[in-house]
Each structure stands twice: as structure tokens, then as C-alpha cells.
């Protein structure tokens, strides 16, 4: 067992090195996640993330079952954002088997994906503030809106979080006119919530002191480390898979991609707030333009789908970053290789780089801004 974490490197004349194992049972590590932190006083000199506590071998389970049977398991990857996980997988299967999706299904996919993005970012800013010590008030404000979105998911797909809603070729059930009206009724409340939230916190001195300048990530390192999502854009790199790949019907919507200047925790926090505002814009446009029509490609065999032998990589912009699925088919009903590109795990690559030289209290804040969900990190 190569565990050089137990070796002691002497740093001459600087004092003692203290090793702190943060986690896996820790209220601020967003799941069963452990960090082996080596401190010199309060400053971090080394940080190694350790995970795998929630490893459920999702990839092998999906390789043993049919293509349809993997969809409920994708709900449980990033368990807060089941709709976007479903979409990523269905996109990969659609690329692999050459399946087209009807227009109404594409619109509804955009609507539920943007609602998912909203509720994920709301939860994230709430938890980030919780980690900073705001003891739950901003968290509960954010959760008030999140509950409204989850109620919408329950009335559409039957479950609040494990929706199992999308299928390759479209959707499982259609959204009724009543449901679309419910979404339209919810929309004006969302910008009001964002205004209230910003009022609560934007100029808060504690927030600014703790987050500005903390956990800086430079552009070059972010690109090299494969960081994606709001974390990448906070470092100033304009790369949003919705704009680059234009998957689904995203090229029909007019929305901006917010970019940050400094790449610190404050920028990442503001990225999420600004993205929530852009999400509301996309929702308004989608609800205006949604057509009538079928929601499923009639030629698709859900049971016993046998794509031709080959491989495909399909990716979407999930709230955490670029979520991709790589599928290799050998012509049978089960995928030969099923691989998930987990944005949370890949965003953790530079956690050490961001935390070196900072206080241990900043480690918690920096980790909170990376936005990890262990279901995705470990699969």
C-alpha cells in the first residue's frame, strides 16, 4: 500500500506539521468525502482528496443490464439533478443508435433541465453559506424555492428527485397543459427570490471577506485540469457546452453565459446567481415557444434496443459541469462499455492547488464552491 501520506517531510525551522483528516463524516464535505490535510499552523501545505466511500460500481451495473435499465441508475449519479443526468445518457444512446427526438420533447427537456439547474444552484448557494456559518437561514430560503421546483417534478414524473423521466427518443410521459401553466405561474416568483437572496447576502461583509481572494484558480490551470461548468467560467474561460455543442434546441434560445474575472470563491458564487437569472430567461422563452406534438420517436424499441456495434460520446452542460456518457456497443442489448464523465470528480483535481497556502477554514469554503455531489464523484 503506497501511503506516503504518513511520511513526515521536515520543513526546516518552520514549526510542526499537523495532519488533519477532514471527513468522511463531516458536515461540510458535501457527502462522504475525505481530505487528508497537512497543516503548518493554520496554513495548508498539502491536501489530498480521498473518495470512493460511495462507490457503487454504477458502470458495471449498467453493463450488465439493458440500455433502458441504466436510466434509473443515472438518476442516482448526481442525485440532486436527476433530469440532466437522464438527458446526458439519453443523448449518448441517441448518438449511438441514430435516434431523433421530436420537437415537443426537446422543449420539455429544456424546461426540466433548466428547472434542474435552478434548483441545483439554489441548493448550492444555500449550502455554501451554510458552510460559511450562516446556520441555515439562507439555506432554508433557497430550499423554499427548490421545494416548488421539486413539487413540479413530482407532479410531472412521479418522484421529486429520482425522476427517471427521459427516454432515448423522447420522454416517458407528456407534460399536460395544466403542468405547463403551473410552471408559468412559478416563473415570476423566481426573480423575486433571486432579488431577495441578493439583498440578503450580496453586500454582506462576512461573505465578502471570506470569499473574495479565496481559492483562486487561474485560467491555464483550469483548462489543463479539465475543469468545466460554473467553476471554469468563474476563471474567465468562455466554454459552455450548451453554446459549443448546441445540443437539443439550445441554439434557439437567447441567453448569456456569465464569466468571472478572478476565479475565486466569490466569483463562483456569483456565477451561480447569474446563471439562475439566465435560466429564468431560457424558461420564459421555452414556455412561449413549446409546440404540440408527440413526445417519443415511434420507431424506437425501448425494450431490447440493440444499437449497431460502435461507440459514441454524448455530453451536456449539467449544473455541475460537462456531464458526458461514453458508450461502446457490441450489437447486443447490453452496452459493452459504459462510462460516465463525472464533472464533480474532475473538478476536484485542482482542489489541492487552490487550497495551498490558505487557512484551513478556507478549505471548507473552497470545497463548497467546487460543487461536488459524491454520487457523481464515486459513482
Amino acid at each position: 500500500m503506497s501511503n506516503d501520506l504518513l511520511e513526515v517531510d521536515p520543513i526546516a525551522g518552520q514549526g510542526e506539521i499537523m495532519e488533519v483528516s477532514m471527513g468522511p463524516h463531516h458536515p461540510s464535505t458535501h457527502g462522504v468525502f475525505r481530505m487528508d490535510v497537512r497543516l503548518e499552523g493554520e496554513k495548508v501545505v498539502r491536501l489530498k482528496p480521498v473518495f470512493g466511500y460511495l462507490h457503487r460500481n454504477h458502470e458495471k451495473i449498467a453493463e450488465h443490464g439493458a440500455y433502458l435499465a441504466a436510466i434509473p441508475y443515472t438518476d442516482r449519479l448526481d442525485y440532486l439533478c436527476s433530469m440532466t443526468n437522464n438527458w446526458g445518457y439519453c443523448l449518448a444512446v441517441e448518438k449511438l443508435a441514430g435516434i431523433t427526438v421530436p420537437e415537443r420533447a426537446e422543449y420539455i427537456r429544456v424546461i426540466v433541465a433548466e428547472l434542474t439547474r435552478f434548483q441545483n444552484h439554489a441548493g448550492l448557494v444555500g449550502f455554501l453559506l451554510q458552510d460559511m456559518g450562516a446556520s441555515g437561514t439562507p439555506l432554508m430560503y433557497a430550499f423554499r424555492e427548490r421545494e416548488k421546483v421539486l413539487d413540479l417534478f413530482e407532479s410531472l414524473s412521479g418522484a421529486r428527485m429520482m425522476c427517471n423521466y427521459m427516454r432515448f427518443g423522447g420522454l416517458r410521459v407528456d407534460a399536460t397543459a395544466a403542468w405547463l401553466d403551473e410552471v408559468r405561474r412559478l416563473l415570476p416568483a423566481l426573480p423575486r427570490f433571486l432579488d431577495e437572496f441578493e439583498n440578503l447576502l450580496r453586500a454582506n461583509e462576512i461573505l465578502m471577506a471570506r470569499t473574495q481572494g479565496t481559492g483562486r484558480l487561474s485560467r491555464e490551470l483550469a483548462v489543463s485540469a479539465g475543469v468545466t461548468g460554473p467553476m471554469l467560467r468563474a476563471s474567465g474561460v468562455n466554454y459552455d457546452v450548451r453554446k459549443v455543442d448546441k445540443y437539443g434546441i439550445y441554439d434557439r434560445f437567447d441567453f448569456r453565459v456569465p464569466l468571472g474575472d478572478h476565479g475565486d470563491v466569490y466569483d463562483r458564487y456569483m456565477m451561480r446567481i447569474l446563471e439562475m437569472r439566465e435560466t429564468v430567461k431560457i424558461l420564459e422563452q421555452a414556455l412561449r415557444g413549446i409546440p404540440e406534438g408527440p413526445i417519443m420517436d415511434p420507431k424506437v424499441r425501448l425494450r431490447g434496443l440493440r444499437p449497431k456495434a460502435g461507440e459514441a460520446y454524448g455530453r451536456i452542460e449539467s449544473p455541475k459541469g460537462e456531464l458526458g456518457f461514453f458508450l461502446i456497443s457490441d450489437g447486443t442489448t447490453n452496452p459493452y462499455r459504459y462510462r460516465v464523465r463525472p464533472p464533480s470528480m474532475i473538478n476536484l483535481t485542482i482542489l489541492e492547488d487552490m487550497c495551498l497556502g490558505q487557512n484551513i477554514a478556507d478549505v471548507v469554503v473552497t470545497l463548497g464552491s467546487v460543487d461536488i455531489v459524491l454520487g457523481e464523484v464515486d459513482r
Binding site: 443490464g65 439493458a66 433502458l68 435499465a69 441504466a70 436510466i71 434509473p72 441508475y73 438518476d75 442516482r76 437561514t137 432554508m140 430560503y141 423554499r144 421545494e147 413539487d151 413530482e154 407532479s155 410531472l156 414524473s157 412521479g158 418522484a159 429520482m162 427517471n164 416517458r172 410521459v173 431577495e196 439583498n199 440578503l200 447576502l201 450580496r202 453586500a203 454582506n204 461583509e205 462576512i206 461573505l207 465578502m208 425501448l302 425494450r303
Partner: protein
């Protein structure tokens, strides 16, 4: 002024606190279990088997095709087919499950069994207060515990149940019409065979059962 941001935040909190006494939207706590929020119709928890009428064995819709067992992702369904058959809602003789077990400690409520069932035999229940003190035996639901009547289904999922009932009523009508047409054609052929000069008799009334066996007996009566 230093602290202005914090004071602004506190004003926001105060507005919510005092507002919760007057605005319903700001009071978000529900005193469960004294108060309960109604579940949306589409809500799902664990599956249950449907039976028509009052007898769970005779009216059970499941014909033991085992498609749900094959498609279930965590493989929590266990079915053993019966050796004998019983008539289904259109009168056709079908097998039934001698054993139908669902392990709800494994079931992940994904609803794929409902999606793939061709016989409207399995649907999702909304009951979630299912805690038990026995971890092993009580979490394996057998056919007896799973079978619930169509009346119950109409209560929990009214729109779905109405659509399902309409479809099944149409199936019954179609089967009756087909059997009547078959009986009429057979009677016409028999009459023509007996007396080639006579005109074929008009279509006879549909039998109440609509199955093939009564139609054949009707032909015998005609002869």
C-alpha cells in the same frame, strides 16, 4: 458604514419572520403528521398488483408473462408461473402467477415494471408510511400483500385509472364484436352447407361471454 450589508440581511430576515404571520407563502412549515399535504396524482412509491372485481385471485390481471421481472433494473421481482390457467377479463384462458414477490428493500421505485407491462396488471402505489420492525421478512411483499383492487387504483390515480378502464372496456367490446362476427360467419357457413339454396341468416346476437367456446356451442345449436 461597516456592517451595512449585515444589517440589510437582518432586515430581510425580519421581513420574512413578521411576514410569515400574514403571508401564507412565507410560512413554509407543515406540521406533519397532524397536517398533511396532498400528494400529486402522478406520485409513485412502490408497485402493487391490480385485480378486477372483489376476488383478488380470480380477478388478478397479471398473466405471469415475466416481462417486468426481466426488465426490473435491480431484479427485485420474483415470479413463478402457475401450472393451470384461468380466464382473463375478455374470457381468454391465461396463466397466473403462483408466486409474485417484490423485495421492497431492493425496489428503487423506478416504475419500469409499470411501463413495460402489456396487461395493465402492475401499477405504482402512493403509500409511503410502510415502516416495519422486521427488516427481513416484512420487506418482501408477496402476491397477497401486493394485490389491490381496481377501486383503490381509481382512488389514488383517478385520471390514469379512467383511461385504463376505458381502454379495457373497448378491448372487451372489440372481443365481443369479433366473436359475434366469427359466430355469424360460422353459422352462415353451416347453414349454407345444409341448404345451399337458402340465404344466409342475419348476424346472430353476441353471446354474453364473448369467448370462442360459447360461439362454437351456438353453431351446434343452430345445426
Amino acid at each position: 458604514m461597516l456592517g451595512e450589508g449585515i444589517i440589510q440581511g437582518l432586515l430581510e430576515t425580519a421581513r420574512n419572520f413578521f411576514g410569515s404571520y400574514v403571508e401564507k407563502d412565507r410560512l413554509t412549515t407543515v406540521q406533519f403528521p397532524e397536517e398533511r399535504r396532498p400528494l400529486p396524482e402522478a406520485s409513485r412509491n412502490f408497485p402493487f398488483l391490480l385485480y378486477d372485481g372483489t376476488d383478488p385471485d380470480a380477478g388478478l390481471r397479471c398473466v405471469s408473462c415475466q416481462i417486468c421481472e426481466k426488465e426490473c433494473p435491480p431484479r427485485c421481482i420474483h415470479i413463478e408461473k402457475s401450472k393451470d390457467k384461468k380466464p382473463d377479463f375478455v374470457g381468454k384462458m391465461q396463466a397466473y402467477p403462483a408466486v409474485f414477490d417484490i423485495d421492497v428493500s431492493v425496489c428503487m421505485s423506478c416504475q419500469i415494471c409499470v411501463e413495460v407491462c402489456p396487461f395493465d396488471a402492475i401499477r405504482m402505489d402512493t403509500e409511503f408510511e410502510l415502516s416495519t420492525t422486521d427488516r427481513f421478512g416484512s420487506l418482501l411483499y408477496t402476491k397477497r400483500e401486493l394485490a389491490k383492487s381496481n377501486e383503490y387504483y381509481r382512488k389514488i390515480h383517478p385520471t390514469e385509472a379512467a383511461e385504463c378502464d376505458a381502454r379495457r372496456a373497448k378491448d372487451v367490446e372489440d372481443t365481443k364484436a369479433k366473436a359475434a362476427a366469427a359466430a355469424a360467419a360460422a353459422a352462415a357457413k353451416a347453414a349454407q352447407a345444409k341448404d345451399p339454396a337458402a340465404a344466409p341468416p342475419p348476424a346472430s346476437s353476441a353471446s354474453t361471454n364473448g369467448a370462442a367456446a360459447p360461439a362454437r356451442s351456438e353453431v351446434k345449436e343452430n345445426q
